[in-house]
Subunit: 244 residues, 2 copies
């Protein structure tokens, strides 16, 4: 049976990949991904064949992976972070309905939420939500409803895709919605280029975040009512529940 691994390579640095992800790539004949991610790993796997497809050609990329696997090649599809969090794993299963002879395995990785949280301190410690501000495939009304629900129920909120050229005011809009339920003094954080060159973290208030400029390589964290700044770090305190 042909096999494809859908591999989360983590936030960027080679060292942030898991041993399992590295083994999957080593055992591949061919590694497929978006150009930026392929460039991140290429040097570590010099003997592999790499194939890239440009942004917004995700479905073509999936079809390419299945067609290559059908030729008998051991294929890995790579994603930054975790392939199952705003990544390619879902689309691979959907496209895979036409290729029942190909077996998919998802190999998890460190997603930007936890990778960025580690840089900021411990913002996510308790219940949290991930929300993408991209409305390319989600109606903005649904995003708004989620922001409001998350703010009202006092979740820590982690925002993916907080900005792009076409959506330069979306973070401001999101902050305004959250401010209807949360104080402008709420402790927030941003991390740009997690685990890559130029990594940059900032702890700031929700009021300051509303007026901040962030780019598309930034992950945003909005604390809950308990989140504090401790020595420059963003920390969501709690007691500590019984471990499992």
């Amino acid at each position: 049976m042909s096999k494809i691994n859908v591999v989360g390579i983590g936030p960027g640095a080679y060292e942030q990949m898991t041993g399992r992800a590295i083994r999957a790539l080593k055992e591949s004949d061919e590694i497929i991904g978006y150009t930026v991610y392929v460039d991140l790993v290429k040097e570590y796997f010099p003997d592999k064949e790499f194939r890239t497809t440009p942004m917004k050609k995700e479905e073509d990329r999936c079809v390419l992976a299945f067609e290559e696997a059908r030729k008998g090649k051991n294929v890995s599809m790579i994603c930054s972070g975790d392939a199952g969090v705003y990544g390619m794993a879902g689309l691979m299963y959907q496209v895979g309905e036409k290729y029942p002879e190909v077996e998919l395995t998802v190999i998890p990785g460190v997603t930007a939420a936890t990778g960025g949280a580690a840089v900021l301190g411990a913002p996510l410690i308790h219940d949290f939500c991930l929300i993408s501000l991209s409305d390319l495939l989600t109606p903005w009304e649904k995003i708004e409803a989620r922001l409001l629900a998350a703010a009202q129920a006092d979740f820590v909120i982690c925002l993916y895709n907080p900005s792009s050229r076409k959506r330069s005011d979306y973070l401001q809009k999101a902050c305004d919605l959250i401010l209807t339920h949360r104080s402008p003094d709420t402790v927030c954080g941003t991390v740009a280029r997690i685990a890559r060159e130029g990594e940059e973290a900032r702890v700031l208030t929700l009021g300051e975040l509303r007026n901040a400029q962030v780019d598309m390589f930034t992950t945003v964290f909005i604390g809950n009512s308990q989140t504090r700044e401790i020595g420059g770090k963003m920390v969501t305190p709690r007691g500590y529940e019984s471990e499992r």
Copy 2:
């Protein structure tokens, strides 16, 4: 300056640790953790000194780490999954306020949400919430409010700590709340002992989940209105937004 690494070791298998986590443990003089986690990694680091404290002694464990670091030892505090998701990172920063001379570094790992998601297929692909059902340190009313908000705003929901001996009916209570906003046919999944011996995954409906028995080593996934079963896997479909 003394240093402590707070290290997420991932769901359990050595291969699911990141390279950075392995390096941190290799460079440690002493590795501290809850007994179960220490047992998971001990064999791979035979020359290290290991210290454990029992369940519910988390604060003592933090103090031990800081006291050892103050003696000049290179200390790692280990957590399963990611140290920043229901892990020790937050408490370490809180206890660390008394030890300003010790520098903390959090090293992220694969948390049960993404590790379990990879086993089930691609349930989390889009916006999702993590909610712990443990009410040891969170009032149950707050947990209820979060479950209702998450259900109403159509988040995928991932439940940590779904059960314990004292809380055997909490998952049922949670499902009943979610059922006020979501169909009993909603696709759900459970994964027990992720990446450990006896790993066990199941895809089922929300109606079935309500009546299922799960143990404390299980992570529960409740799909959103779009989540489907594809070839026995739990998949949250979406188109695919512009990659970052």
